[in-house]
Each structure stands twice: as C-alpha cells, then as structure tokens.
C-alpha cells in the first residue's frame, strides 16, 4: 500500500469514528464502512480502528472473522452470493450456481483474476418465495434462470469503471 493510500484510509477511518463515535459500539458501523469502500478490512485498518476505539487489534480481528460480510482478504468489486437454503434449492439453485461457475470461470469462495467478481454461498437471504435468488452487493436477483446468468454478469460489468463512464458520456 502506498503511503498516500494509507494516509487516505487513516483519514477516512478517523472521519467515520467522528461520525459513529470513538467507542466499541461504533466498531461494527466503522468496519462496515471500511468493508464497503475497500472490499476488505486490512490489518492496517484493523490496527487503526483498534487504536481509535481503545481496544486490542485482536479484538477487532475477532469481530471481522465472525461475520460473513466482513473479510480480511480483498473481495471482488461485485460479491455474488447465491442462496443455498432449502427453498432456493428446490427452485433450482444448483443449475444457476453451476452456470455462475462456468461464466465467471471460478469456483465458490474464489475471486476472478481481474478482481471484478467474488462468488460465494449465502444462507437464506429471505427471498424464498422467489427463488432461486442471489445477491450481488446490495442488489437482489430473484427467479434467476441459468440462461440469465451471463446477462446479469455483463450488467454488473457495464455499471463499473470505464464502461460506466463511457455510458454517462464522460
């Protein structure tokens, strides 16, 4: 990490701590902000947060490792979470999952080499009446069929980076 990046991360963490508080109750919201912006909670970030809320960094690591939406390793820009619980299973989640593996060319638990997509299983996401369902970052996709998978992935790509800028006419 470049020194300037570190400085920026540190400044942001300080700003979040000012917003949410310098106490342990602020820990989750700060970590959630770091995760959303940097797609993981780095050792440096955890150390910095620990200092700010006055606890040992191991305590912060303990919290990060507990929650499945917080990670110590960088995730892709798009985290694809496929609901694996019974209702989505009966609705045909296996075929959708297989097509995701094929189209992204990675296995579950992996991130594409370009850092765009991470593929994960999720426990019930509360879309049982409209399965198979998946979450991509904060967006829900319901009644997904295997032949929609390609378009969903391309739709994500189109909303990110240079493609998105071209669309907006920059």
């Amino acid at each position: 990490m470049l020194v300037t990046d570190r400085e920026r991360l540190k400044e942001e963490i300080h700003a979040w701590a000012d917003q949410y508080g310098h106490s342990r109750t602020a820990l989750m919201p700060i970590l959630q902000e770091v995760q959303a912006r940097y797609r993981h909670c780095s050792e440096y970030a955890m150390q910095e947060i620990a200092d700010l809320v006055g606890i040992h960094p191991v305590e912060v690591h303990g919290v990060v490792s507990f929650y499945s939406f917080l990670t110590t390793e960088p995730q892709g820009k798009f985290v694809v979470r496929v609901c694996q619980t019974m209702s989505c299973d009966m609705a045909g989640k296996d075929r959708v999952a297989l097509q995701l593996v094929n189209d992204l060319d990675i296995d579950f638990g992996e991130t594409t080499p370009d850092g765009m997509f991470t593929l994960e299983w999720a426990s019930c996401i509360g879309m049982c009446d409209q399965g198979p369902a998946l979450l991509i970052n904060d967006k829900v996709y319901s009644k997904v069929t295997p032949n929609q998978v390609h378009d969903i992935i391309e739709e994500c790509r189109a909303t990110y980076g240079v493609h998105a800028l071209q669309k907006e006419g920059h």
Binding site: R24, T25, M28, F66, Y67, F69, T85, M86, C128, D129
Partner: protein
C-alpha cells in the same frame, strides 16, 4: 402478497394516538388482554416482556426491533418493512411510551441493505410529522427516536442477546440468560427486543383494542399471524391466517395439496408428515415464527435434512461445544446415510446426541437445530435407511 393484510386496514398512527392518552399500566394492560406472544418464533408473552422492562428503575432504556430475519423460509419481515414500516415504528414508539425509553434501534440484517434507504425515508417523514423526536405529537416529556444498525451476515444475531452483543461491537455470541435483556440488555440497560411483526401487531392492538385480537385464534395462541410460504405450492408468498389453523387448511389456501411433508418453523422447526396435517399451527401444538416450507411427493427428505444441517454447521457461533460439534456430527451421520453406510445403532446414538444438544446448548440455535433431523428420522426412516446409489 396474497389478499389484504390487516396491517393495511389500520388508520395510520391511531394506535399511537390512543397510547398517548394512556398511562404505562394501561398500555401494557391492553397488550396483556390481547394475549400477544412474540412473533419471531419463541412465543414469549409480549406484555410480560414490556412489564419487566417498564418496572426497571434505570434512567436509560432501549426499544430494539429485531429485523435480523434469518430463519430459512422466513421473509414476512421483508414484506412488512417494505409495505408497513410506519406501523413497525409506531409499535416501537408505543413500546417506548410503555417502558419509558428514549432510544430505539432497528437491527437490520445485511442481506436487506437494499431496504435501508426506504426505511430511512420513512423515519425522516415520521420525524418531520413529530411522530418521532422531542415531545411527540405535543406530549411534553415524551421523546423518542429510532436509528438503524446493520448486521453483517450472521444468523445467530437474530437471537436477542447475540443481537445486543453485535450492536455493542462484539462477536455475535449469545449471552447466558438470566440476566435477561429486559433487565440487563444493551450497554447493561433494560432493553425490550421485539420482532418486526410483534411491533406491528402492538400498533394494531392499541388501535383496535386487545379484545379484538383475543377473539381471534385459540385460547393459548391469540390473534393473527403472518406466514411465509415457499416450496412446492402454487401460490408462494406472505399470507395472514388466524393462529390455530391446521397444516392441512393452510395447504389448501396456498395451493399445496398433495404435499408429502411440511417444515413448520424453518430449519429449527419441525417436519410434519402428511398423516399429521390435522395438527394446529399454534404455540401449544406446532409453533412457528411463520416459516412454512412445503415438500411435494418427489422430494428426498434426506436432502432436506442435509440442507438444514449444512445451514446449522455454517451458522453455529461455535461458542458452546454441544452445538458446534453436535451439528457437525448430525451432518456426518446424514452423509453416511446418503452413502448407505450407516447402521441403525449409529442413528440411535446420534439421536441421543440430539437430546444432549437440546438440553446442554447455550441458546436456541443448538437447542432447536436437532428438531428437523429428529422429526425427519422419526417420520421418514424408511426413506433414509439402506440406500443404494
């Protein structure tokens, strides 16, 4: 959603206006008359919870809305928060008045992040209408506001003490109870944690009266309940039925006739076979937080049990041994059954382990996670034993 929910027939804020004219004792009395029990699944009498929190002498108290809806097959809270968030916040405000709290927290699961902006808007409108904030609707000294806290993907945080741990910035590991949250909750202050649906019903009850609610349902399970229906039915979705409806009656309403079994209460609930479809969905018979998963004749019940156990192995917090190790052992047994390599003696041994888990686990997760396995083994043993490829 199918049909009209009672929630959409309630005059907005009529429950709150009624509560503002009442004292604490009368508000809680109305809830007690209704017989309302916790709609998240545990079924604890709501008025008792409020009474205990109200009786505490502490200056700081909290009202927490548990929107960490993670039980497999449950999505009613998603629908309530999308269509009737106002009613939930009205219920929270009534609770605040009843117990003397100034601060409310909505704990929303990370999987529902997409609802957050809508919920924030609803809260903001309520602040602008003086339904939240200082001196609510002109009542001097009654101030209450609600903030949102997000979960981060942990089923166990739906357990109320784990939820509190999470808000406090800890791993979501349940606490020993007692002390209960109504006494020693968030930041060691009295805290009334209620399910989304329970809070919405509180608002309805204050609007229409406890007697109205009590007249519906059975003696021990009063009122109406929302059900999340999924699986092999023609009409999956959220339904409202009176408590005490039988499994068979419910199946007719949702287009699930001909089902082989129904999982009532999600992964931690019980699997009801066809011969028991006459049983009632009520606290005194088959209890549920609202999850109804229907399995058609073609479903492999071993796969069902395995899916649920995979869920519990993943979601056990790992804090206490019976739950952490027990769930893994049950799953291992199911894998052996699947390979046709499991003796009846071993199945019985695992059933013994299930009993240990039910008694010795620290929280509801480990106490109830063997239910699905036990009921499937009991009713579908013939399907499980002696498998070939």
């Amino acid at each position: 959603m199918i049909g009209k929910l009672t929630f959409s027939t309630i005059e907005p804020n009529s429950g709150l206006q009624a509560a503002l004219k009442m004292g604490r004792v009368d508000i809680i009395g109305e809830v007690a008359t209704s017989g309302l029990k916790g709609r998240g699944g545990a079924g604890f009498p709501t008025s008792v919870k409020l009474n205990l929190a109200a009786a505490a002498q502490d200056k700081t108290k909290y009202v927490v809305c548990n929107a960490d809806e993670g039980e497999p097959g449950t999505f009613k809270d998603r629908v309530i928060l999308t269509d009737h968030a106002d009613l939930v916040f009205e219920g929270m405000t009534i609770c605040a008045k009843a117990i003397g709290a100034k601060e409310g927290i909505l704990y929303l699961r990370a999987e529902y992040t997409y609802m957050r902006s809508h919920i924030e808007e609803v809260l903001q409108k309520r602040r602008e209408a003086n339904l939240l904030g200082d001196n609510i609707l002109g009542q001097q000294g009654f101030s209450f506001d609600i903030s949102i806290r997000m979960g981060s993907g942990a089923y166990i945080c739906g357990e109320e003490t784990a939820l509190i741990e999470s808000i406090e910035g800890f791993r979501g590991e349940p606490r020993n109870r007692p002390p209960f949250p109504v006494d020693t909750g968030l930041n060691n202050n009295p805290t009334a944690v209620n399910n989304v649906e329970t809070l919405a019903w509180i608002a309805c009850i204050l609007s229409k009266g406890g007697e109205w609610f009590k007249a519906i349902g059975t003696d021990k399970s009063t009122g109406l309940k929302l059900f999340s229906v999924s699986g092999d039915v023609t009409k999956p979705g959220v339904f409202e039925f009176p408590m005490g409806i039988t499994v068979g009656e419910l199946l007719e309403e949702v287009g699930g006739e001909g089902a082989k079994a129904v999982q009532v209460g999600g992964a931690s609930g019980h699997c009801i076979p066809q011969k028991d479809f006459g049983r009632a969905i009520a606290y005194e018979d088959v209890s549920t937080g609202g999850s109804i998963m229907v399995f058609g004749p073609q479903r492999d019940m071993l796969e069902v049990a395995r899916n649920f156990m995979e869920f519990f192995v993943e979601e056990s917090c790992g804090q206490c041994t019976p739950c952490r190790e027990g769930n893994a052992k049950i799953l291992e047994c199911l894998d052996m059954l699947d390979e046709g390599a499991c003796s009846m003696k071993y199945v019985r041994e695992i059933k013994g382990l299930c009993e240990t888990m039910q008694i010795a686990s620290k929280c509801g997760l480990g106490q109830s996670s063997p239910n699905a396995f036990l009921s499937i083994v009991e009713h579908f043993q013939d399907e499980l034993m002696g498998r070939t490829e």
